[in-house]
């Protein structure tokens, strides 16, 4: 399992660097083993440097920068070991519009192999979806699913959902 971990780590690290650059439009993302001589036990440090900025601890990154760097890492693991489906619950909440567009572009590109379920309140993310489900509570405390036609433009859908709520 030492060999397997090392192989996974190296591949995921390469993908992390690539996807980080795609999501940030440059910069550098990398994972480091804190104790390189003991790969089976070592913790993992993350280096994230947005384009043009000095290298600093990941803790100094902004809320949106942290979310984008974490998404790059998750999608890198995905690329190494795809999963039948992926569920993301309001990961776009801290993002500005430009980052939402980069995030949804990346997800759409990966959605050919993997199904994505994305919980969101953001109209831009809704517009990037292939289909939309609305959840409402016509009777307080009891959830119901609204079946939605897929050819509707999201604005018509969200209209239907808020009026049903």
């Amino acid at each position: 399992t030492r060999r397997r971990f090392r192989e996974a780590f190296d591949h995921i690290n390469a993908y992390f660097g690539e996807i980080f650059q795609e999501l940030f439009g440059g910069g550098r993302g990398e994972m480091l083993l804190i104790e390189p001589d003991d790969p089976l036990e070592s913790g993992i440090e993350i280096v994230a440097q947005p384009p043009g900025k000095r290298l600093q601890s990941v803790l100094l990154l902004s809320g949106g920068e942290k979310a984008m760097a974490a998404l790059a890492l998750i999608l890198a693991i995905f690329r190494y070991r795809p999963s039948p489906f992926c569920v993301l619950d309001e990961v776009d909440a801290p993002l500005d519009e430009a980052n939402i567009d980069r995030f949804t572009d990346k997800v759409r590109a990966m959605s050919r192999q993997t199904q994505f379920l994305i919980v969101t309140h953001n109209k831009r993310t809704m517009e990037a979806a292939d289909s939309i489900y609305g959840v409402t509570m016509p009777e307080t405390g009891v959830s119901k699913l609204l079946s939605v036609r897929f050819d509707d433009k999201p604005s018509a859908v969200t209209q239907a959902i808020s009026s049903a709520a």
Binding site: S83, D89, V135
Partner: protein, 214 residues
């Protein structure tokens, strides 16, 4: 594997039986605050074997059973099932692809799948050296075949795990999904609020994500 359908009954705010049919590509789940969107995500992590009530935002596991409203009584059971279709053959009952290329493991898997665990039998994990590769007791799937996993919890605390309607062990479900990011550290499911914490989590927690994929 492709995700086909999720069915919930008595799970959190989904009192009545509810079916979510999944399509290809990207599906958005939308709705007002408190309407039940994250409860759907909880249903998915629960049926895949989640053991921590805290990860499901509850205090004890019974908190997932519908608790009643002003006009409805609490229910006695929660049940969730998830149906997937194999897009290519899944030879040794492990959706994540053979973890180990050793030919004997594929053979062991085939044998085990042929005689699923009788629920009374003591688990073989307890005695003797761990088998070279855990022998998943799962059905092998040919491309196009479906598999349904299920989980039930009664107010009494009893719970069942199911594969294609037959009772199985939690381990069987975890084995089936191991290496796909859907079991244990599940890197493929990001709960609400978790995205901001991944970078500030401890180095060993990040390691668990990579190990799951290794």
């Amino acid at each position: 594997l492709r995700l086909d359908k999720l069915e919930l009954r008595g799970f959190k705010s989904f009192c009545d039986t509810t079916q979510v049919i999944f399509h290809e590509g990207v599906t958005a789940i939308v709705g007002p605050n408190g309407c039940g969107k994250s409860n759907i995500v909880d249903a998915i992590t629960w049926v895949l074997g989640e053991q921590s009530a805290k990860h499901l935002r509850g205090g004890k596991m019974e908190d997932v059973i519908f608790n009643g409203t002003r006009h409805r009584k609490p229910l006695g059971m929660a049940e969730v099932s998830l149906t997937l279709t194999a897009v290519q053959d899944v030879p040794d009952g492990c959706a994540g692809g053979a973890l180990d290329d050793d030919p004997t493991s594929a053979l062991a898997a085939a044998n085990a799948a042929a005689n699923p665990v009788a629920s009374g039998e003591p688990s073989s994990d307890a005695d003797g050296p761990p088998p070279r590769r855990r022998a998943p007791r799962l059905p092998q799937l040919l491309a196009g075949e479906k598999i349904t996993i299920g989980r039930r919890l009664y107010r009494s605390g009893d719970s069942d795990y199911l594969i294609n309607g037959r009772i199985c062990r939690l381990r069987d479900i975890q084995d089936f999904f191991s290496g796909t990011g859907l079991s244990r550290a599940h890197y493929a499911i990001i709960e609400q609020g978790r995205i901001g914490q991944i970078l500030s989590s401890k180095p060993h927690e990040r390691r668990a994500l990579i190990e799951e994929a290794a």
